[in-house]
Amino acid sequence: MEPATRLDHNHKLSLREFPYIIRWRDDRCKRCGSCTAVCPVKAIEPTVKVQRIIQSEGPVPTPTAVRRIVHVIEQVTDMERYCTGCGACTLVCPNEAIEPEYNPQNKFLHFKNRGGEGYKRGGRKNDPSISTLDRLKFTRISMLTDPALDAGRHEFRVRTLLGRILPPDELPLRKVNGKLVVDKEIDKFIPPVREIFPIMIGSMSVGALSPPMWEGLAMGVAYLNEVEGLPVVMCTGEGGVPPRLLKSRFLKYITIQIASGYFGWDEIIHAIPHMVEDPAAIEIKYGQGAKPGDGGLLMAQKVLKLIASIRGVPQFVDLASPPTHQTEYSIEEAVAKMIQSMSMAWGFRVPVYPKISGTKTARAVLNNLARNPYAAALSIDGEDGGTGAAYNVSLDKMGHPIASNIRECYLDLVKQGKQNELPLIAAGGIAKKGNLAANAAALIMLGASAVSVGKYMLQATANCFGDEYNRCNLCNTGKCPRGITTQDPKLYRRLDSDKVAERVVEVFKAADVELKKIFAPMGRSTELPIGMSDGLSVDDKAIAERLEISYAC
């Protein structure tokens, strides 16, 4: 006969299967309940236990067994409520009584497919190893034969160009009295070009990000431009633009993204006649490094009134962007048409460029764009890029690393002599370990004209818990404990947009200084050292060979 209760607990998972194990200290805990209240996934709960204690009172030992009911904090062993390791509990605990600990032996992925549904999450690829970008060193140091420049004294121009650049032999110029003038009689299209700071804030949408987070980024960018004189631009991601911003003069610091869902574009197009400034650029998203070939999804619970109005949709419906644009038939036609249509919408005054996932086929895309005089750039998002929501398998296993992808594209352009005509924008895993300026400089020397950062911005400016040990990564659930990727007012009230803006400014000012600290000893100051590959080395011969840089050990 079966027992009424299965005493062997064989149907349960043990805590050892879980990625994070809660270390709770009975002696420190004052049972305030803050940790259980704050836990975004309810991985811990207060419970009562009966304890049998042997105790002795009085001068003569008289051990007696006492049964006592005690209050404890317990981690649940339900895979749907696994501890994400975010550490919000530690943050609120007044007595340092609780802390999640990473469990390297976990078998999390073995079980995180209940209901036949693959594991979905936010964040970036869970690979904590040192990336190629972090292995690159700057080894061409100017010494004696060519004195190093002084990062503090010499004038530096850490700027790049965003937009299609005409080849010199096609410039519509003529000589008048020994001077060159632009010949207006030659009917030559001069594409729009922006001079910007070479690090951009990558595409993160209003909707994926909470209002204070997005607002903080935008305020920081405006301050950097207007007060600090650093022409930083940020990309909206797919999700429209707040209506007031569309009609404000700050729009010029914003790159507007159009993706396969076209969310918010009805509102944007209708606002064009009321715009007082052109946007910095238009990014057409064809792919994302974090989830190549996969569409976007904003879950119904994040589609509140504000988001619904910005995106032009009803409230509380799942907003799925298809994996590809509905009109995408071929790069020759559909992509070219898309680029031209977007250019035309702003009277050919705004650079329009596509963004693709890092892929072995990037060069094919590149070569096509190189022949399209309206393509303003190509943005390539490598496998280490972040996202608000994706299948874990896409995040961890799909995509191409950015370093070799950018390098081969750049060298391809060099072969065609078009390395200065079509700027390459590199993204995906920049500053994964916090080395923002170094990673950006390395990519520039491999051939990128600019870089885009997203995930790092959340970490550096809003203390995002996420890391490559799958810590937190709850962005997709709308339960972000930091209030970054949520539309729940109870959560996003935790985030102060002013503080985010302040950090944005600090991050870019520091990156500007650090870029100079890298370029100055290499004797570069006037122009960005795009493609200055002789400045780079790596301690791995295979990487050196692949990137066509030197090996140093």
Binding site: G417, I530, D534
Partner: protein
């Protein structure tokens, strides 16, 4: 860091004047090479003004290859000049140093100069390719009224070695560089001045932006943009690309290699053009530290610096004879009779140009255009 001595005059003078100027700057070169480029030649070359002169060095084997190749290409030898070599301790003579005057192939005699220039350059590039693997042939220039001499050694000793003190070889413009080898191996093709289709320059200092500039030039699809055994060769090719290929006035060379910042461009009349040029030629921007001295086909000589002026340079002289030197002591040696107070020390925005026949010196300021 190399030392540079250029002299331009309305009368013929000997290259020894440049070499003696280099001698005064001796602490700045280490015998890793001397290069001399002579333009507007006197002496026995006076009668061959229209005929291209092939300057170079070859071995006995290379000499035969060279003769056969030039015959096949249809060039007729008109004259050969060779320096009267005097053995000097420390300098190992090579088999043949030569300057050969040729007549154009019949089919090219009536072609425009630009086509002739392309032919001459292509011949030079092919000869270089043939002779480079076994070092049997080195060719430095192939152009009318221009002669180049290069060898490894101390400039003064090389002057003696080449017999320049005894020879009556003379010219009206002479560029000389005493080389201090730094980055790359000591090699004849790394020796300045560099020459291409009437454009010539020499430089001191390093070129930290060398690799992207080289990649940009090599991808222009122009067969003459090869070599680059020295990072300074790109300065000559940028000059050629800017002035000959793009047909920009010479002053735009300065705007290409050291572009103004956006706010400064705003002050120029030609700002619209300048903005486009800055964008389109972004990869040709240099970062120094350099001083560049050169000449263009019409005989204008110039001096220009990197945008921070990290290297010295001085121009001075008298009407009819000016010298452009990397150090003032060289100028004192070359033209002691000048009024020193009129010496020009170009600053970061300046481009000094000496008109043909050393008629006049002009300082062009980039800010004012």
């Amino acid at each position: 860091m190399c030392r540079l001595a250029a002299i331009t005059s309305n009368e013929y003078f000997s290259p020894m004047e440049n070499i003696l100027a280099l001698e005064t700057m001796k602490e700045g070169h280490d015998g890793s090479g001397l290069g001399l480029t002579l333009k507007d030649l006197g002496g026995e070359f006076k009668e061959f003004k229209k005929y291209p002169i092939l300057s170079g060095i070859c071995s006995k084997k290379g000499s035969k290859t060279l003769n056969d190749f030039m015959d096949k290409a249809g060039f007729k030898l008109k004259d050969i000049w060779a320096p009267k070599i005097k053995h000097v301790k420390g300098i190992t003579p090579r088999d043949h140093y030569f300057a050969r005057v040729y007549d154009y192939p019949t089919s090219y005699k009536h072609k425009p100069m630009s086509e002739k220039e392309d032919l001459l350059m292509n011949i030079r590039v092919v000869l270089r390719k043939i002779g480079e693997p076994d070092e049997s042939i080195f060719v430095f220039s192939f152009y009318p009224d221009v002669l180049t001499l290069k060898e490894v050694g101390d400039p003064l000793q090389l002057g003696e070695f080449f017999g320049l003190d005894r020879d009556n070889i003379k010219a009206k413009i002479i560029l000389a560089q005493g080389r201090q080898n730094t980055n790359y191996t000591i090699y004849l093709y790394a020796c300045h001045p560099f020459f291409i289709q009437g454009y010539c320059s020499m430089t001191n200092g390093e070129n930290t932006a060398f690799v992207p500039i080289r990649e940009f030039l090599m991808s222009r699809g122009f067969p003459g943009y090869v070599g680059y055994n020295s990072d300074s060769e790109v300065f000559t090719h940028i000059l050629h690309y800017t002035v000959r290929q793009l047909a920009f006035p010479l002053t735009y060379y300065k705007d290409v290699i050291t572009p103004l910042k956006a706010s400064e461009i705003q002050t120029r009349d030609d700002r619209d053009a300048l903005r486009l040029i800055k964008q389109s030629l972004r990869p040709l921007c240099i970062d120094g530290p350099n001083v560049i001295i050169g000449f263009v086909p019409d005989g204008t000589c110039f001096m220009v610096h990197d945008s921070k002026k990290l290297r010295p340079g001085v121009v001075g002289g008298v009407k009819g004879k000016y010298a452009l030197m990397s150090e003032e002591c060289g100028l004192d040696r070359a033209i002691p009779e000048r009024n020193k107070s009129e010496d020009i020390f170009p600053m970061k925005y300046d481009m000094v140009m000496v008109k043909p026949h050393a008629e006049e010196v002009k300082v062009w300021n980039q800010l004012q255009g």
